[in-house]
C-alpha cells in the first residue's frame, strides 16, 4: 500500500509537472472500499475480513487490507491532495485516522462518539473534519485531537452523511432522519433546507456547480436541488424504485450520474439527474450501498453491494463484473486519482 502510494506519487508528480494540470492524472487510480461486515458475521466475534480495503483500478480483484480489522467500518474519507496519506475510517469504534497512508492508525474519538457512519475531510484545511453519527454531527478543527457535537438546529439527529461545500468550506450539508440540513457557519448552526422528507440517507454535491445537490432517501426516491437546498424537486423519470443509499457523479462529466439502493441495481443518468435508466447487465447483487466513478476514467465505475462485494464496469455501467470482496457488505467506496 505504502509502496504503491510512493510510486503513484512520483508518477503523479511527474505528470503534473510536465503537463501542468491536476486534471491530467495518470490513468492509474486507487479504489478504496470500507466493509462493515461479511456473510460470516457473528455478533461479538472478530471478523477479520472487514475494515478498509484498497485496489489498483487497473488491477485484478486482489484487495489489500489496511488498518484495523473488525471495527464495523461504515464510511471513509481519503484526502486527495495528500494522495492518500491522510485517510479516515468511520466505524463502530469511532473515527480512525492515519497520516502515513495506513502504516499507523489512531482512534481520534472517545467514548462519546460511536457508530460513526460517515466522515468528511476538508480538502483545503484537513484539520477540519466532520463525522455523521446516529447522535448527530461532530466536528474537529484540530485534526481529531478534540471533537465537538454540532447539532444546533437539527431536530432528528440521526445523520448519515456530511458534505463540505467545495466552493465554500463554511457551507455544510448533512442528511438526517428528517431531511437535509444546511449550515452556513461551519456547522455551528443548522437549518433545514427545503427537503424535509423522512429518512434521507445520502446527499451529494455536483463536482463543479456547488448549488446542485442530490439526495437519496429511504422510500422517497431521489431529490435534486439547483439552488443550494432552497427548493428540491423529485426526480422520477425512469426510476422504478424508491430507496437509494448512494449517488455518484462522474467527476469529469457531471451530467452523468449513477444511483443505487435497495434492490435497485444501478441506475444511470446522462442528463444531470433528470432521467434515469437501469443498467444492470452482469450485476448479480442488486442491493447497492455505494457507487464511485473513477475520476481519471469516467467509464470505470465501481459499485459496493450488500453482502455481494464490489462490482465494476469498464464501459460506463453497460456491463458489470465482480471485482472481489465477495460476501462483503460494502458501505462506502471511492476512487482516488493516484
Amino acid at each position: 500500500m505504502d509502496g504503491l502510494n510512493r510510486s503513484s506519487l512520483w508518477l503523479t508528480a511527474l505528470v503534473a509537472v510536465s503537463l501542468g494540470s491536476v486534471d491530467l492524472y495518470a490513468q492509474e487510480s486507487t479504489v478504496y472500499a470500507s466493509v462493515v461486515s461479511t456473510k460470516l458475521f457473528v455478533v461479538g466475534a472478530a471478523n477479520p475480513q472487514t475494515g478498509l480495503f484498497s485496489l489498483r483500478s487497473s488491477g485484478d480483484t486482489t484487495w489489500q487490507h489496511t488498518g484495523p480489522h473488525n471495527i464495523r467500518a461504515f464510511g471513509m474519507a481519503v484526502h486527495t491532495p495528500s494522495r492518500g496519506r491522510l485517510v479516515c475510517i468511520a466505524s463502530g469504534n469511532g473515527v480512525h485516522k492515519t497520516t502515513d497512508a495506513g502504516t499507523t492508525w489512531k482512534i481520534t474519538t472517545g467514548w462519546e462518539i460511536t457508530e460513526v457512519l460517515w466522515v468528511s475531510i476538508d480538502p483545503r484545511t484537513p484539520e477540519v473534519m466532520f463525522c455523521a453519527t446516529p447522535y448527530g454531527v461532530y466536528r474537529t478543527i484540530n485534526g481529531g485531537t478534540t471533537w465537538e457535537e454540532k447539532t444546533k438546529g437539527v431536530q432528528q439527529r440521526f445523520t448519515s452523511s456530511v458534505v463540505i461545500d467545495h466552493s465554500n468550506s463554511s457551507t455544510i450539508y448533512c442528511s438526517t432522519e428528517d431531511g437535509v440540513y444546511r449550515s452556513n457557519d461551519g456547522a455551528e448552526t443548522w437549518f433545514r433546507t427545503g427537503l424535509n422528507v423522512g429518512g434521507v440517507r445520502v446527499v451529494v454535491q455536483h463536482p463543479k456547480n456547488a448549488d446542485v445537490l442530490l439526495a437519496g432517501t429511504d422510500d422517497h426516491g431521489i431529490y435534486i436541488t439547483r439552488n443550494g437546498g432552497k427548493y428540491w424537486e423529485k426526480t422520477e423519470a425512469g426510476l422504478d424504485h424508491s430507496t437509494f443509499y448512494s449517488i455518484a457523479f462522474d467527476p469529469q462529466n457531471p451530467q452523468t450520474l449513477y444511483a443505487g439502493g435497495y434492490v435497485t441495481g444501478v441506475y444511470k443518468s446522462t442528463d444531470g439527474g433528470v432521467s434515469w435508466r437501469r443498467t444492470n447487465s452482469g450485476l448479480t447483487n442488486l442491493n447497492i450501498h455505494s457507487i464511485a466513478v473513477d475520476p481519471t476514467n469516467g467509464d470505470r465505475v465501481f459499485a459496493g453491494t450488500q453482502w455481494g462485494g464490489v462490482f465494476r464496469s469498464d464501459d460506463g455501467g453497460s456491463t458489470w463484473r465482480s471485482a472481489g470482496l465477495s460476501g462483503s457488505q460494502v458501505w462506502a467506496i471511492t476512487v482516488q486519482p493516484f
Binding site: V43, P48, N70, R72, H96, T114, P134, E177, R201, N287
Partner: protein
C-alpha cells in the same frame, strides 16, 4: 427509613469496612465451583484460570491460554476483560513469554467496542484494567493508537457514566437472565483488580446493585418477571439461563448443582464466567442474600428501567420501562408495560413456578419483527436489518419464536392478576399470538367456563382468552395460538397458600370473565379479579384499578418492601427486617445500619 418515627441505631459506618459475613455455605459452594470448572475441558479464559488457580492440568492450561491469546474468533469486548482478568489473576505463574504475548495482544488485535451496553461494559472494563496494568506506555503500544493514560481516562469516564446511568434511570439491558453474566462478571473483575479505591468501591456498589436487582425478583434460582433480553431456550427453561448459576453461587438456590443436569449446563461462550465470581474477594452482603431467599411474605415490587438507546423513529432517547412483579414463595408473576422496549429478545411477561422441574413458566407473546423496529436501535439500513439480525439470532423473523417485543401487546398487572391486551394491525406478517404451556404441568384442563386451569406443584394458574384459540402440540410444550388480531388474555395465579385446594381456586374463577366494553381502534377490557379488584384497561389508553388511574409517572426507581430508590436520586436503599444498606452512587459510599424494631 427516612421516616422520623424510625429510630436509627447508632451503628452507622462507611463501607468498605462493611464486609458482610460469608453465607454459611458460600465458601463451600465457591470452592466446589472452582474445582468443577478446573476439571472442565472447554476452551475459555474461565476454565484456564480455574485450572491454574487450582494447579490442575497446568501444562494444558498454559497451552490453552496461549491459543486463546491468538484466537481472532473471540470478539474484542469478550476478549479484553476476560484476558486481562485471567492475566491479573495468574501473572505470578505465567511464563514471561506468554505474559508478553498477552500484553502484545492489546497492541496487535483490534478490540471492537461493540454496539450494546453489555459490550461496552466488557470493553471498557478490559481497557481500564489493561491501561492500569501497563501504564505510561505510548500510543504505538496500543491497538487504538492511544496512550495508556488516554485509554485509562476514557475507560474510567465511561465506566463512571455507566454507574451513574444504571443507578439513576436504570440499565437498558436490564434484568436479563442471559446477559446478567456480561455485566456482573466484568464488574467483579473490576472490583477485584482496580487499584483506585474509588473505582473499586464503585464496582462493589455496582455489584451490590446488580445482585439486589436480581434478588428482589429471584425465586429458587429463577430470574422472574419481564426481561429486556433473553434467549428463547432460557425463557422456556429459566434455570438454564446463565443467571441461575450465579443464583446458585450467591443465593444458594436452586439447591442442586445445575451442571449435573445436561439441560442446565452453562453453554454461553463456555458459560463458566461464574468462576470469576467464585474466585473474587467480593462477598455478597447478607442483606441481599436475605432479600433473595426470604419468600415468607408475598410482595409487590415495582421498578423503572430504560429503553435501550433509540437512535431514530423516536422522540426520546431512553423512555422509561415500567416493571411490576408479584413475588410469593410458590410463584412469581411479572411484567413490563408492553410495546417495543428492546429489539429482538424482549420477554414481556410470565408466570414462574418455584419448581425444580424444567420449563416452569407460562407466558404469551406476539411474534413481531420489522426492519423499522431494528432501525430504531441499530444504525444499519432498515431494509437489510431483519436479514442481518437473522444471520446470527436465527429466529428474529420466525413466526414461532419465543421472544419478541411488539407494538401490539400491552399489559396491566395487579398483584397476581394480569391482563395482556393484543391489538394487531391488519397486514402484519405474523398476525397471531402464541402462548407457552409446558407439557410437564401437573394439570392442564379446559373448563367449560372458558378458563384454562393449570397446576404445577402448589401453584395454580387460570388463563382466559377473550377470543378463540387453538392448541399445537410441540416437543416440550403446548403452543396456545390465537389468530385474532384483537384479543385479551387474563391470567390469575394463586397457590395452595392463598386458595386452599385447586378445586377451590377453580370455583372462584368459573363465574368470571373479561368483558370487551369498548371497541374500535383502541379496545377496552374490564375484569374483576377473584379478589374483587376491578381492572379497566384500554389499549394505548388508561389503566384503571378500582376506578383510579395507574400513573406510571409515579413509579419509583425501585419500590417494594426490600428495595427503594427515587428515580434519578442515585441512592438505593435495601431493607430487610431491621437491617438497612444504602448505596449512594453520587458520593460513592455504602452505609449500613440497623433500625430498632
Amino acid at each position: 427509613m427516612r421516616n422520623s418515627a424510625v429510630i436509627l441505631l447508632t451503628v452507622l459506618f462507611l463501607v468498605p469496612s462493611v464486609e458482610a459475613r460469608a453465607q454459611p455455605s458460600f465458601e463451600q459452594r465457591r470452592q466446589r465451583l472452582i474445582e468443577v470448572v478446573a476439571g472442565e475441558r472447554d476452551r475459555s479464559f474461565f476454565t484456564v484460570t480455574a485450572k491454574l488457580v487450582t494447579g490442575k492440568d497446568k501444562e494444558f492450561a498454559i497451552q490453552m491460554l496461549d491459543s486463546l491469546t491468538t484466537d481472532q474468533s473471540i470478539g474484542g469486548m469478550f476478549y479484553s476483560y476476560a484476558a486481562i482478568g485471567s492475566y491479573l489473576r495468574l501473572r505470578d505463574q505465567l511464563p514471561d513469554s506468554l505474559k508478553a504475548k498477552m500484553r502484545n495482544s492489546f497492541r496487535e488485535r483490534t478490540m471492537y467496542r461493540g454496539d450494546t451496553e453489555n459490550h461496552w461494559v466488557m470493553y471498557y472494563t478490559g481497557l481500564y484494567l489493561a491501561a492500569q496494568t501497563w501504564p505510561n506506555e505510548g500510543r504505538s503500544q496500543w491497538y487504538n493508537g492511544k496512550s495508556s493514560d488516554e485509554n485509562f481516562r476514557e475507560a474510567e469516564e465511561w465506566l463512571n457514566l455507566w454507574f451513574k446511568t444504571s443507578s439513576t434511570i436504570g440499565q437498558g439491558e436490564f434484568d436479563s437472565p442471559t446477559y446478567f453474566i456480561t455485566f456482573i462478571t466484568p464488574v467483579l473483575t473490576l472490583y477485584e483488580f482496580a487499584s483506585d479505591p474509588v473505582m473499586k468501591r464503585r464496582a462493589q456498589m455496582m455489584a451490590d446493585l446488580l445482585f439486589a436487582d436480581f434478588a428482589v425478583e429471584h425465586l429458587n434460582g429463577n430470574y422472574c418477571g419481564g426481561h429486556s433480553r433473553d434467549y428463547p431456550e432460557d425463557i422456556m427453561n429459566p434455570l438454564s439461563a446463565p443467571a441461575a448459576l450465579w443464583a446458585w453461587l450467591y443465593f444458594g438456590e436452586p439447591q442442586f448443582e445445575l451442571w449435573q443436569e445436561t439441560r442446565y449446563r452453562p453453554r454461553h461462550r463456555g458459560g463458566w464466567e461464574t468462576v470469576f465470581g467464585a474466585m473474587s474477594s467480593y462477598r455478597l452482603p447478607e442483606i441481599i442474600y436475605s432479600i433473595a431467599t426470604d419468600r415468607s411474605t408475598p410482595y409487590v415490587h415495582t421498578e423503572t428501567k430504560r429503553v435501550r438507546n433509540i437512535i431514530r423513529f423516536g422522540l426520546e432517547k431512553n423512555p422509561p420501562v415500567y416493571k411490576y412483579t408479584y413475588m410469593t414463595r410458590h410463584y412469581a408473576l411479572g411484567s413490563l408495560q408492553g410495546g417495543i422496549l428492546q429489539p429482538i429478545q424482549q420477554h414481556t411477561w410470565d408466570v414462574t413456578f418455584a419448581s425444580d422441574k424444567p420449563y416452569n413458566t407460562i407466558f404469551t407473546l406476539h411474534p413481531f419483527y420489522s426492519g423499522k423496529e431494528l432501525a430504531m436501535f441499530f444504525p444499519e439500513e432498515q431494509k437489510f436489518l431483519s436479514d442481518e439480525v437473522d444471520r446470527y439470532h436465527k429466529i428474529y423473523t420466525n413466526p414461532n419464536k419465543w421472544n419478541s417485543s411488539s407494538p401490539f401487546e400491552q399489559t396491566f398487572q395487579h398483584k397476581n392478576t394480569i391482563l395482556v391486551l393484543y391489538n394487531i394491525d391488519k397486514g402484519i406478517t405474523h398476525p397471531h399470538i402464541d402462548g407457552f404451556f409446558p407439557k410437564n404441568l401437573d394439570e392442564r384442563s379446559i373448563d367449560p367456563s372458558g378458563w384454562i386451569f393449570c397446576r404445577m406443584g402448589a401453584t395454580y394458574v387460570a388463563f382466559y382468552s377473550l377470543r378463540p384459540y387453538e392448541w399445537i402440540e410441540e416437543e416440550i410444550n403446548w403452543r396456545w395460538r390465537s389468530f385474532e388480531l384483537m384479543n385479551c388474555i387474563v391470567v390469575e395465579v394463586g397457590s395452595s397458600d392463598e386458595e386452599g385446594p385447586f378445586e377451590q381456586f377453580k370455583r372462584n374463577l368459573q363465574a368470571r370473565s373479561p368483558a370487551l366494553t369498548g371497541g374500535g381502534r383502541n379496545p377496552t377490557i374490564e375484569y374483576t379479579t377473584r379478589s374483587g379488584d376491578h381492572m379497566k384497561f384500554t389499549f394505548n389508553g388508561p389503566r384503571l384499578l378500582n376506578g383510579k388511574p395507574v400513573n406510571f409517572a409515579e413509579y419509583k426507581f425501585f419500590n417494594g418492601p426490600y428495595l427503594h430508590s427515587e428515580r434519578k436520586s442515585g441512592v438505593v436503599t435495601m431493607t430487610y427486617k431491621n437491617h438497612v444498606r444504602e448505596l449512594d452512587f453520587d458520593k460513592a459510599t455504602i452505609k449500613e445500619w440497623q433500625k430498632l424494631q
